[in-house]
Amino acid sequence: MAISTSAPNNTKTHDGSPSGAPLARSRPSRIHRQRLRAAWLCLIPMLLVLAAVAGWPLVRTIWFSFTDASFSNISEYGWVGLENYLVYDDGAWYGVLADPTWWQSVWNTLFFTVVSVGAETVLGLIIALTLNAQFRGRGLIRAATLIPWAVPTIVSAKMWGWMLHDQFGIINDVLMTLGIIAEPLNWTANADLSMWAVIMVDVWKTTPFMALLTLAALQMLPSDCYEAAKVDGIHPVRVFFKVTLPLILPALMVAIIFRVLDALRVFDVIYVLTSNSEDTMSMSVYARQQLVQFQDVGYGSAASTVLFLIIALLTITYLYLGRKQIGGES
């Protein structure tokens, strides 16, 4: 699947002029032109590589989405226009955008994103605040919290899959022993539980990432604000909401955006835990199923393209807002 989101790491856009000072740039100096040329020369290799590994597959996917290509014979296909997206035929609508399963997967993805990223942010913040305090063995704890993040998702999802197994999973065993549940729960197959199981595994895995980024922001905070607050005898909770949170908010926002973009593309954790079940199907799982399992390269590509557009739109919105904000700050 040719879905690649460019991480918004270029928020610091420089046009070389302090904003608000309208420069008359009718004749850029020679030196400026030289520097521009040098900059482009340095960028060309990177752009070429990106075009080859990200651009080409993306273009090909979009191209296929207008055809009826099939996996059983990918070299022969015909042009079908927008039929894979939406078509009115014989009194009914067909296509990705008319498929209730697709909209179910869109809803699942949004639900998963909001809940998991929300939980990860809150938990990450709590862990970061804890690790920010001075205590013995802090380095060790800090390293230990990173383990879930270090384990590849496919491995941790499989591991959790066994732990959540209804017959011989340790989770059910512990809950039964403690008398919390009366009979084993079917975590990954039960329609009411499976989404929560997936979210739980994702939170377990990704909270360390959020904690780490938040911790980095916390360590940069100036201590004088806190000393002043201490002298004035202000309640710590108030200090947190009035001083700490506003100061770390920019860093936190970057972390949240990273996670949101990741969560919208989620595939591995869901596929390993619950396979193609419609209760937890994300947009990527849907696209893969159409593409690989049903061999419908055209239709699957259309789903991939819609997913790409959704993520691109969000990224562009974020960049635009971020630029305005940074412009306002400088």
Binding site: S70, F71, S72, N73, I74, D89, D90, A92, Y94, D166, Q167, P184, N186, T188, A189, A191, S275, N276, S277, E278, Q289, V292, Q293, F294, Q295, D296
Partner: protein, 423 residues
């Protein structure tokens, strides 16, 4: 990739003379299933061929779930990868994969005449023989002889009888302290296996095969509704709720550990339940699956696996030779005796050694010969979607999210939509 032959294996005390000198040995890669004893038998079979020919064989494992396996194959084949020379393919795949496979009829020398003809025609696409049948399959009913005797119950002839017997025995066993005992285990996860199970229920009530050979959607009928309603009543009563997530091996796990009275499964489970370390050895019987009420019929879904040679193989001649060896009379006989894999050669069903090892092959010959075919020929390239829609609908009925009436009328709409321009 040719290199000098370095290694030779010893099997059953047969010391093979090591080939010294400049013999060029090739390596053939084969994908084998790993359900039950499949992998072991495959390795033994390929080793025998290696000793005969001096070429090496590499066996690669594939996912147990047929749905997953197909996805993996699709990716390999779409990339025109020559990594795997021989693919083990399901009985419903020849149509989908035909473009990627070589025509074996140039290599067979007419040996395909000896196999079940329906399988050969199933594997012949546009006049090309794209795969050789390796073993056939049909769903059968396993039961615990000792328990039926203990409670004086008959071997069930109909699903209604099975339900009643299962309830009786399960209640009594639980009374006796077996609190993990269940009446009936089967394959309820939403995957291809559920299509097989549910097709058996529907066909046994004379409810057809989802889509008929002419391509008409027939699933929305009273018999099919009746069948699914009966099955949905098993979940949580005689079958555990978790059966909704079982594949073949989970069901066998429960049955073989002595915790179930009845099991629906493929014949491969026979030799495993009879293995030396099986707690239920010698206490198992096998019969055809029950009929739906008195007016129904015994129906077992036709399954089975074929061997095909990839078009992208660099060694198609040798690969075809290995395929012919593995599907030969002798090798199928060995697999039938050691692993209870159903031969695709009718003559083997009259073979004394085979019948001694697997008594029910003789009794159920008709079941194997007349398996209920999934509608893969009628629906062609769209079979994957049809099956997916079917098992999801059935799963909804089983898990109580919809009743048979709603589920089947929605399924009918969806299938008509899929096939609106012909299959």
């Amino acid at each position: 990739m040719s290199r000098f032959n370095i290694k030779h294996w010893f099997l059953g005390g047969l010391a093979a003379a090591s080939l010294v000198g400049g013999l060029q040995a090739e390596t053939i890669t084969i994908s084998c299933g790993a359900v039950g004893a499949e992998r072991q038998l495959c390795e033994e079979g390929t080793r025998l061929w290696s000793e005969k020919t001096g070429h090496e064989v590499q066996v690669v494992s594939t996912p147990n779930s047929a749905t997953e396996r197909l996805s993996l194959y699709q990716q390999l084949l779409a990339a025109q990868s020559g990594d795997v020379d021989i693919f083990q393919i399901d009985v419903v795949w020849p149509g989908m994969l035909a473009n990627h496979m070589i025509d074996l009829s140039e290599h067979t020398d007419g040996v395909e005449e000896e196999h079940f003809q329906p399988l050969i025609s199933n594997n012949t696409v546009d006049g090309r023989l794209v795969a050789m049948p390796w073993f056939t399959d049909a769903g059968v009913l396993y039961y615990r002889k000792d328990l039926l005797e203990k409670y004086d119950q008959p071997v069930p002839e109909t699903w209604e009888q099975l339900t009643a017997t299962a309830e009786t025995v399960m209640a009594a066993e639980r009374e006796a302290g077996q609190d993990k005992f269940w009446g009936f285990v089967w394959q309820g996860r939403a995957y291809e296996g559920l299509t097989c199970d549910a097709l058996e229920w529907v066909a046994s009530y004379n409810g057809g095969t989802i889509v008929n050979p002419d391509g008409e959607v027939t699933i929305n009928n009273p018999a099919a509704k009746k069948a699914l309603t009966v099955a949905s009543q098993w979940v949580g009563t005689i079958s555990p709720k978790s059966v909704l997530n079982y594949t073949e091996e989970e069901a066998r796990g429960v049955f073989q550990s002595g915790n179930a009275l009845f099991m629906r499964n493929w014949p491969y489970a026979w030799s495993l339940t009879q293995s030396a370390d099986s707690p239920i050895k010698d206490r198992v019987g096998v019969v055809a699956l029950p009929r739906g009420e008195e007016s129904g019929q015994h129906a077992g879904t036709l399954g089975g696996w074929q061997l095909a040679v990839s078009k992208y193989s660099n060694n198609s001649e040798l690969a075809a030779d290995l395929v012919l060896y593995l599907t030969s009379f002798q090798e199928q006989k060995r697999r039938a005796i050691q692993g209870s894999y159903n031969p695709t050669i009718p003559a083997l069903y009259r073979d004394e050694d085979v019948l001694a090892a697997v008594p029910f092959f003789g009794e159920l010959f008709e079941t194997f010969k007349n398996g209920v075919a999934r509608p893969s020929s009628a629906t062609g390239d769209k079979y994957g979607r049809v099956s997916n829609a079917f098992f999801n609908s059935v799963h909804d009925v089983l898990s109580g999210e919809a009743n048979a009436d709603q589920a089947l009328s929605k399924l009918e709409r969806d299938l008509r939509r899929l096939g609106r321009r012909g299959w």
